[in-house]
Assembly symmetry: C2
Homo-oligomer: 318 residues x 2
């Protein structure tokens, strides 16, 4: 498994995260734990820790702290995303604002964001810059995406632009700051940067594909949310360009308030196109290019784990 | 005027803030500017810059950067507060989520928070700790306050505990980190800490008093919001303890959904009690004690400005 080289580190990460988010207020504490223990895949900290070790880092506790910070900031951003997207289920459980209230969830997100930044602040100006740049780009991409909701003539290039800001940038930040902490050379930093942008892109493409073909049992969330919200994802864009079914998909996608029946119909039609196949292929290509880009990094079990992680990202069904 | 010693610095602060919050996304940029240019009093950065100068700091640009970070973080927190409080008006203008949308306002708040932390990250671990501790305490206090909404037996001690976390802590952070940046002695840090906690408390007491007796022209917001939201402020708590009118105030305050007529009645009744007078007196006492606590700081025009600022806080009517 991709994580077998860092099992111990990932365990330590869990206690570090719980330790950092602890609040004296019992309800706030409970809410943070609710989010953190929902069982995320810990992708981002894993990328951070593995990049650190693959670049020769010697004091892994520093990378664990950094990884914890990323997981906390990422989880905080999901709390606010779920409010914005009106999502009711994540990882098989009610989203935080549904389990508590929107007000409390906004505050809890702010609290976790502050705790995450606190952990980052102990590193270096360069690392703070890397993550804040990523956090700012995430916000900007939310705006770009909102402007393209329910729009028919959105292009694949629009999608890639959104994903670079929304997803890739933070995964790149995890990897690059891990490498930076390990005193990686500029060549290594570039290699790790290219690698992580690629897996960030693949990760999002697969996420968006699972919104079409996934099921609740595997993904822990409802499918078809992107159709419902009018979010222009790659499988939807590809399907809208299908010569036979494209116009039927577009007709539903451009509705401001599609019904549940609309969503189900759209999913059925998209599955008749080659959109899912094209997306899976695209994700694999991204990952294989990503793997090529770390050719210059010295061979090690950690580099091998990064490669396994990358291939897992492109092939996962949950 | 309290700000006459730092007029130039406050001007530089404005351009620094605009520079930091700038976003490539034009709508996000516009939203941040909307919030920042609404004409806040720049209390927090002023406290930071004056504390720095009063403690002998020589490179004021560093204090300006720090002050800008505080104003940005504070403004970001107001965006989310306004969503949570369903406030429609602030500083005479529609609140951000009313002018745009709740979703966009949540994202804009996150963006500004990240930019604020970025500016802080260049300082030192100690300063990051000071502000993040304050930001975390702000979140925790929101929870404590929510649990005491519309509750009759809330005490003045509950109020002070909430305000210490909600308001005082951030103003203390502004002052202490300014002093810290100026390499202040521990004695000076303690003095500045006590001083700023006092003016933070006075500032909130007056804010809450203006929610009873203010008017839109002066405060730029509607009055009676705390009654409407059931927030236990000092004037309300004092009025609920009035031997003659207390029960009438409590009857309205404990309603889960008071009407506009209820709110108007409550304001009229509270004005018949000595609550406002008691609150003003309490704010003055806090400020005079605060001023005493900086006796050990070397005399300077900046210390004089801090004292003027403190007295202004306790006497302001807007």
């Amino acid at each position: 498994m991709w994580y077998s080289t860092i099992t111990k580190e990932l365990n330590e990460l869990e206690s570090r995260i719980l330790n950092v988010i602890h609040s004296e207020n019992s309800e706030l504490d409970e809410m943070c734990k609710y989010v953190i223990t929902a069982g995320g895949k810990r992708f981002r900290p894993a990328v951070c820790i593995l990049s650190y070790l693959a670049c020769g880092g010697q004091d892994v506790r520093r990378a664990i702290d950094l990884g914890a910070a990323y997981e906390i900031v990422h989880s905080a951003s999901l709390i606010h995303d779920d409010i914005n997207d009106k999502s009711e289920i994540r990882r098989g459980r009610r989203t935080l604002h549904k389990e508590y209230t929107v007000s409390k969830a906004i505050v809890a997100g702010d609290y976790m964001m502050a705790r995450g930044f606190q952990l980052l602040g102990v590193t270096s100006k360069e690392i703070v810059d890397i993550i804040v740049e990523a956090a700012s780009r995430m916000s900007e991409s939310e705006f770009i995406q909102k402007d393209l909701e329910h729009i028919q003539n959105v292009t694949e290039d629009d999608y890639y632009r959104i994903v670079r800001g929304k997803t890739s940038k933070l995964i790149e930040a995890c990897a690059k700051s891990g490498a930076y902490l390990a005193c990686a050379s500029n060549e290594e930093l570039d290699a790790i940067g290219n690698f992580s942008r690629g897996i960030g892109m693949a990760h999002q493409i697969i996420d968006d594909t699972l919104d079409i073909i996934g099921n609740f049992h595997n993904t822990g969330k409802n499918v078809g949310l992107d159709i419902l919200e009018g979010k222009p994802t790659l499988p939807i864009i590809v399907a809208m360009n299908d010569s036979h079914y494209g116009s039927s998909v577009a007709e539903i996608f451009t509705k401001d308030n599609p019904t549940e029946v609309d969503v189900k119909n759209a999913l059925d039609i998209i599955k008749k196109t080659s959109a899912v196949k094209i997306c899976r292929k695209k994700a694999s290509e991204e990952v294989e290019n990503a793997i090529k880009s770390i050719g210059s990094i010295k061979d090690s079990p950690y580099k091998e784990s990064l490669i396994l992680l990358a291939r897992y990202v492109a092939s996962r069904d949950r």
